[in-house]
């Protein structure tokens, strides 16, 4: 079955005898491989369907950044929430949403998560505590803190994973949020997915200081930079941040150093960086190759086992695409529904 439950993930985490590194079991590493590969293949398929005109409008792919969301989801428990920008397909798959429903939404079909009305940038799942999918840069940041506010208000120990980009990190509402989150000790993890570019703007052309996470200092929010291409490093940093938040110490900032391989959206000619720059990251830092090397190099898995996973993922993705393409468009009456309660 395509939809993977986060709980399956937790079971893996509880495996005894860690045999890959102190905080990772073999099974969990295999699971990371599977999830990252699912995101990658899903996104490649989405790109292909866009080219065919099945997906329209804006479509922002997550290829290259897979380790960030997969590593962090491994630290989440039931009840935790997540919210992100328009570059959201990976987040949805990683929190256990059904690839079929996500792909169907990308295609604007009635079987999609938003019944075809939201599209790539605006998708939600109440069931998985996925609060979107936001098209307005940085609008999700105060919303993420608001989810954390509700947790604090209710007195539970849930946390809110609030993802945003290096470009979004310059919006004023981010700093208004930092102040209140710290002042009120809200259990929110601000995950800055620093993929070095905001559309065509390299980070150093938009950002006055090189380390975004330092900006938390002004508000008394601890933070750190993390190798976002290394799923193990992501998980480790995530555990620290989650523990900090659950213990009632207020927000935490994780600046994930990552990279997007594709253009900003499907219609980005990407003249602002060289092909060599992209190629170098793909060859030297690819998050999936990294896990593959750990598995094969450490003899934790055979080539054949990984091939079998590749095949299974390909089937899942093809099934999602077929489901999306064969689903009907929304009924015309849907135009008028859901406007107001």
């Amino acid at each position: 079955m395509a939809a993977r439950k986060t709980s399956g993930n937790k079971a893996a985490r509880k495996q005894p005898a860690p045999d890959v590194s102190p905080n990772i079991s073999r099974d969990e590493l295999i699971e990371f491989y599977r999830q990252m590969l699912l995101i990658r293949r899903f996104e490649e398929k989405a790109g292909q369907l866009y080219g065919m005109g099945v997906i329209g409008g804006f479509c922002h792919l997550y290829i290259g950044q897979e380790a960030v969301v997969v590593g962090l989801e491994a630290t989440a428990k039931d009840g935790d929430q997540r919210v992100t920008s328009y570059r959201d397909h990976g987040h949805m798959l990683a929190c256990g949403m059904d690839p079929k429903g996500v792909m169907a939404e990308l295609a604007g079909r009635e079987t999609g998560y938003s019944r075809g009305k939201g599209g790539s940038m605006h998708m939600f799942s109440k069931e998985k505590n996925f609060y979107g999918g936001h098209g307005i840069v940085a609008a999700q940041v105060p919303i993420g803190a608001g989810l954390a506010f509700a947790d604090k208000y209710r007195g539970n120990d849930n946390v809110s994973f609030t993802y945003f980009g290096d470009g979004a990190a310059n919006q004023g509402q981010v700093y208004e949020t930092f102040n209140m989150a710290s002042l009120w000790k809200l259990p929110v993890i601000f995950v800055i997915e620093n993929n070095k570019y905001a559309m065509g703007t390299a980070m150093q052309r938009s950002t006055s200081t090189p380390d975004i996470y330092h900006r938390g200092n002004a508000f008394g929010i601890p933070g750190e930079a993390v190798d976002g291409m290394d799923v193990l490093a992501v998980k480790e940093a995530g555990e620290k941040a989650v523990a900090h938040c659950r213990a009632g110490n207020g927000p935490y900032i994780l600046e994930m150093q990552t990279y997007r391989y594709r253009g900003h959206s499907m219609s980005d000619p990407a003249k602002y960086r060289s092909r060599e720059e992209v190629q170098k990251v793909r060859e030297e830092k690819d998050p999936i190759d990294h896990v593959r090397d750990l598995l094969i190099g450490g003899k934790h898995a055979s080539e054949d086992e990984l091939k079998a996973i590749d095949k299974e993922i390909k089937a899942t993705v093809n099934e999602a695409a077929k489901f999306a393409q064969s689903s009907p468009e929304p009924q015309e009456a849907e135009l008028w529904t859901d406007v107001i309660a």
Partner: protein
């Protein structure tokens, strides 16, 4: 199994493109992610990546071919070890795509290279003036460039306006000509940079602020309304805010609720602002030049779908169009159709079709929404006795509502039918292709409204 590689759609509005260059040849192995070709769209040259591993079996469309329709097979991809002669069974991907797809990706109105319907004489242009065909995009760029040459106080600021040449390529070439001092890339901080530009305008500079789209100007609304629009009044006339806020407004294609709003009525509501929304390239150029020279804050609403349309633009050293004057595009005697911006495409199409049915429609392009040229509208309604308004925005408190009230008060005795407002539907913009089409204004709705006010069969 061999599969076809299809001509991709590389932007929300692309229908066809040029296969500029192949970066692989027959027999080459490719893996997913390799760049295999360069494809030119209406906006840019894009790299096209392989989505599967395999060997290029045959190249079906040679490089340099223009006008290749989206989804045309352009090459055959073989699996490793497969015979070079293999051909795909039946273009499997293409066959799977539902029938509605190609139309889905089409913008509301097809982009055309040919100039629009014949342009009526403009009062602003001396007889005998020559003209050239230009897109709205080029006309806007020329207007900025001319005004920046004329005054060093004029500068352009916004996201991706400089190095990237504009998210929609409107500022193409301006960085090269005017340098970084005057063509300024900002971080994604709309409220902040709008405030900075307003401050610079208070200090006497003449900023042009580009919003990547007007949807993002909502982040900056307070600075636009509370600071830019009201300060002259609050200072008893001492302060000036000569600033232009410009960018695409309204729906593009399939970009859904947060990126598809028409703000015409919002800004037209605000005293202290001027608001213009051009339709043709000539008006875009002439109005933008006037806006830059205007001592007031001017909201300049463009439209992404219109950027690529071509019109005749007069060749004059200094061509301007006055703010606050409507333009009669087509004279008629049975009904007045009032519109602006992209709504004009539907108004003109409807008028053409109605002419074939013996209904003579007068079509007025408001061009400016604050101030509105009431005189032109009222004179026309007093002549035709009927009026239909057309706009993309939502119906409640629309420009059409306001015109209806004005006509009712000032031309009541001339009206033979209630004024009908044709508008976008009263819902956020849906993503699904079929629903988006239903949400937008259509030419058929304009025709139906005209038939209704003229009491012809087939009307409401």
């Amino acid at each position: 199994m061999a599969t076809n590689i299809l001509m991709p759609a590389l932007s929300p509005t692309m229908e066809e493109g040029t296969l500029a260059k192949w970066l692989v040849k027959e027999g080459d192995s490719v893996s997913s992610g390799d760049i295999i070709a360069e494809i030119e769209t209406d906006k840019a040259t894009m790299e096209f990546e392989a989505v599967d591993d395999g060997v290029i079996g045959r190249i079906l469309v040679p490089e340099g071919t223009e006008g290749v329709k989206v989804n045309t097979p352009i090459a055959v991809l073989l699996e490793e070890g497969e015979e070079a002669g293999s051909t795909p069974d039946a273009a499997p991907e293409a066959a799977e795509a539902p029938a509605t797809v190609p139309a889905d990706a089409t913008p509301t109105v097809p982009a055309s290279a040919a100039p629009e319907a014949t342009v009526p004489p403009m009062e602003e242009i001396p007889a005998g003036t020559s003209s050239k065909t230009q897109t709205v995009r080029e006309a806007l760029r020329d207007a900025m460039a001319e005004e920046m040459r004329a005054s060093d106080d004029v500068f352009l600021m916004g996201e991706e306006v400089a190095q990237y040449q504009g998210a929609y390529k409107v500022s193409q070439g301006l960085l090269d000509e005017f340098g970084e001092r005057r063509v300024i890339d900002t971080p994604i901080t709309e409220h902040g940079f709008t405030g900075i530009a307003v401050g610079a305008a208070f200090a006497g500079l003449r900023p042009i602020v580009e919003f990547m789209t007007f949807n993002f100007a909502m982040q900056a609304m307070d600075q636009i309304i509370n600071s830019a629009a009201k300060t002259r009044y609050m200072s008893g006339g001492q302060m000036n805010c000569p600033i232009v806020f410009r960018g695409p407004n309204g729906a593009a294609a399939r970009v859904a609720a947060q990126h598809s709003q028409d703000y015409a009525a919002w800004y037209a509501h605000v005293p202290g602002l001027k608001v213009v929304q051009p339709y043709s390239a000539a008006d875009a150029k002439g109005l933008l030049k006037s806006a830059i020279r205007d001592p007031n804050p001017v909201i300049f609403l463009e439209n992404e779908i219109l950027y690529g349309r071509s019109f005749e633009v007069p060749e004059l050293d200094d061509f301007t169009v006055p703010i606050g004057r409507a333009r009669i595009w087509r004279e008629g005697s049975d009904v007045t159709i009032v519109s602006f911006g992209i709504g004009m495409t539907h108004a003109l199409e409807a008028a053409e079709e109605l002419a074939g049915e013996g209904i003579s429609a007068e079509v007025i392009d408001l061009r400016s929404l604050r101030p509105i040229d009431y005189d032109t509208v009222l004179a026309s309604v007093r002549k035709t006795n009927r009026c239909v308004t057309v706009e993309e925005g939502w119906p409640v408190a629309s420009i059409g509502n306001h015109l209806s009230a004005t006509i009712m008060q000032q031309a009541f005795d001339w009206l033979d039918a209630p004024v009908i407002n044709v508008t976008g539907k009263d819902v956020p913009m849906p993503y699904a292709a079929n629903l988006e089409k239903l949400a937008l204004v259509t030419t058929a709705e304009v025709i139906e409204a005209v038939k209704s006010v003229t009491y012809r069969a087939g009307g409401l």
